[in-house]
Symmetry: C2
Subunit: 335 residues, 2 copies
């Protein structure tokens, strides 16, 4: 008889410290059977995302914390194998938040059927999923970016940043990425088509002149995924009436907060800075996905995935993601 395998959160990492593989445990459980109105999904792909680190803390945040002893929360893409639900049939490909497990029972809520004809299923967790929609909403709804403006995006080689920059280029903007390491920067410019990319691992003394050279007209839209010291420097390069879409602060998730000194730029430059959570803006997903799918089908958006095989690798892969070891979208393939 088939069994399910799940990853459970068994302990919390220190509030301002690094998580470790010991915070997780892989368990085997009986395969659940769908009752009336339910369906059983075989998850093929698990999405790893920076926000997961925040959920592991007990502190008040925009979402309740991940419970101890429960299956880790997370986005998934898979296939319906048994259905007692009128809206789904076996063979349907579905994207949802079914967590770190190979099989999952669902009542259909929060499940989105996807057409994977010509589109790899994993893309529905990346460029055609939450990260892609995040990029679109941050760029167009939060930053309200206009053609001709200068857009800077941090974590430029990541799942969100890579889409931000490509959408901004398609929109007629000058686009500068910030990324960690020469290889990522080369990819961002040569493959993704950004105008420039700055390696934040160079010294702070070199970073500022490089930033000035890359943004001769200063920054009109900053799509911020990282926070910390680089963000503080970028604040000093903002334009009058510029906007900051605060999407993430990955550099701050496992450490004490970096103290920000350039906040007066918000006042001096009349900046609008706004934090946002893409899952709260469901009414904008259809428009975002329609445009992303159109660009994707026409070959105008490129993407890259970092894939590890097997549920047991998920904890290490999440730690790697938080350390910036991934390239593009970090996925776990559930073989």
């Amino acid at each position: 008889m088939r069994r399910n395998r799940q990853v459970i959160l068994v302990s919390r990492p220190p509030q301002q410290g690094w998580l470790s593989e010991e915070n997780f445990r892989l368990v085997e459980t009986p395969l659940p059977e769908p009752g009336e109105g339910e369906l059983l999904v075989r998850n093929h792909w698990l999405s790893l995302d920076p926000y997961m680190r925040g959920r592991m803390n007990e502190a008040r945040s925009y979402a309740p914390p991940q419970s101890l002893g429960e299956v880790m929360l997370g986005g998934t893409a898979g296939e319906v194998i048994v259905s007692q639900h009128p809206g789904f049939r076996p063979g349907d490909k579905v994207v949802g938040r079914l967590g770190w497990q190979e099989y999952a029972l669902s009542d259909g809520s929060g499940l989105r059927r996807v057409d994977d004809a010509g589109i790899p299923l994993s893309a529905s967790l990346g460029v055609l999923g939450m990260p892609g929609v995040t990029a679109w909403i941050g760029l167009f709804d939060i930053c309200r970016t206009q053609p001709g403006e200068t857009v800077v995006v941090t974590a430029a080689a990541g799942a969100v940043g890579s889409v931000v920059g490509q959408l901004a280029k398609l929109h007629g903007c000058r686009v500068v990425g910030i990324a960690g390491g020469a290889e990522k920067c080369r990819y961002v410019v040569e493959t993704l088509g950004f105008d420039d990319c700055i390696d934040y691992r160079m010294g702070a003394d070199e970073f500022w002149p490089a930033l000035k050279a890359a943004t001769p007209a200063r920054i009109d839209c900053l799509f911020e995924n990282v926070g910390g010291e680089v963000f503080d420097i970028l604040l000093g390069r903002m334009n009058a009436f510029s906007r900051i879409a605060l999407c993430g602060m990955i550099s701050q998730y496992n450490s004490a907060p970096y103290p920000i000194r350039n906040l007066s730029s918000i006042l001096v430059n009349r900046i609008r800075m706004q934090g946002f959570i893409v899952t709260e803006l469901q009414e904008r997903w259809p428009a975002a996905l329609a445009e992303l799918t159109r660009h994707f089908a026409a070959g105008r958006i490129k993407y890259r995935e970092t894939v590890v095989d097997g549920l047991a690798q998920a904890p290490a892969a999440l730690i790697g993601l938080l350390r910036g070891e991934n390239f593009g979208k970090q996925l776990v393939r559930l073989i």
Copy 2:
């Protein structure tokens, strides 16, 4: 023959340090004579405002710096004494930006005629002038405050803060002020009618519990005039989907910037923070002044002025304002 007296900026204070009276010089000059299309104004009141400190630096800001050797820039209220301009007659009361001087020549640009029947002329530099309009725009256009929300305003006993709180009360909000010293807090609650006021001079250990008690439903709108350590603490008390109108950072104008650690609150709470400069939003002044005048005429807005007599006192009064020694609107009466 009558002479004009002017205060000139003769040297700049250190970029991150205090200004001193030595940065200014009082000079006597010949009284100018208006030519065709010009008018001569006798200034009766000089407005002292925190933004003046920023203009004294040479650094890039939203406005060009105050030039050395020139009359200090600043708002004024006075009376036309000679006019060769078709739009003004002797006896007209006018508000403008005629600078730190007893008499000023003007071509009428930027000059606003005010009706001082029943309204003290000095009020057109305070509650019915730039500070009042700043309060109105920050509260309604930037924060978009709704009835029932909790509004917190710093420098609550100042020219702007005192109007912010009273407008918010008239709008049906819970209003908490932050001010320096027990006397100011008493005034804010007992005279201006705020729901509560917290003295930031109490220790940081006491401030947080006092803030929590005063804002049981957290903060929906923060009208920020001060910046620094108190602002950092307030960031930790913001509500989901709250707004911050960043109007000033007076605590930061004469010192190295205080490092802000709670910026992740912007992300976690999906806050919109926006800097604004009231003089750039001229299209909103008529609506703001109309509502302020209506409330003022009905006795619903109270105000207080701190007045020094004579142009020679202006430098010391500006230093006092930046130290928080004033109560309400700081003015110089040009006797």
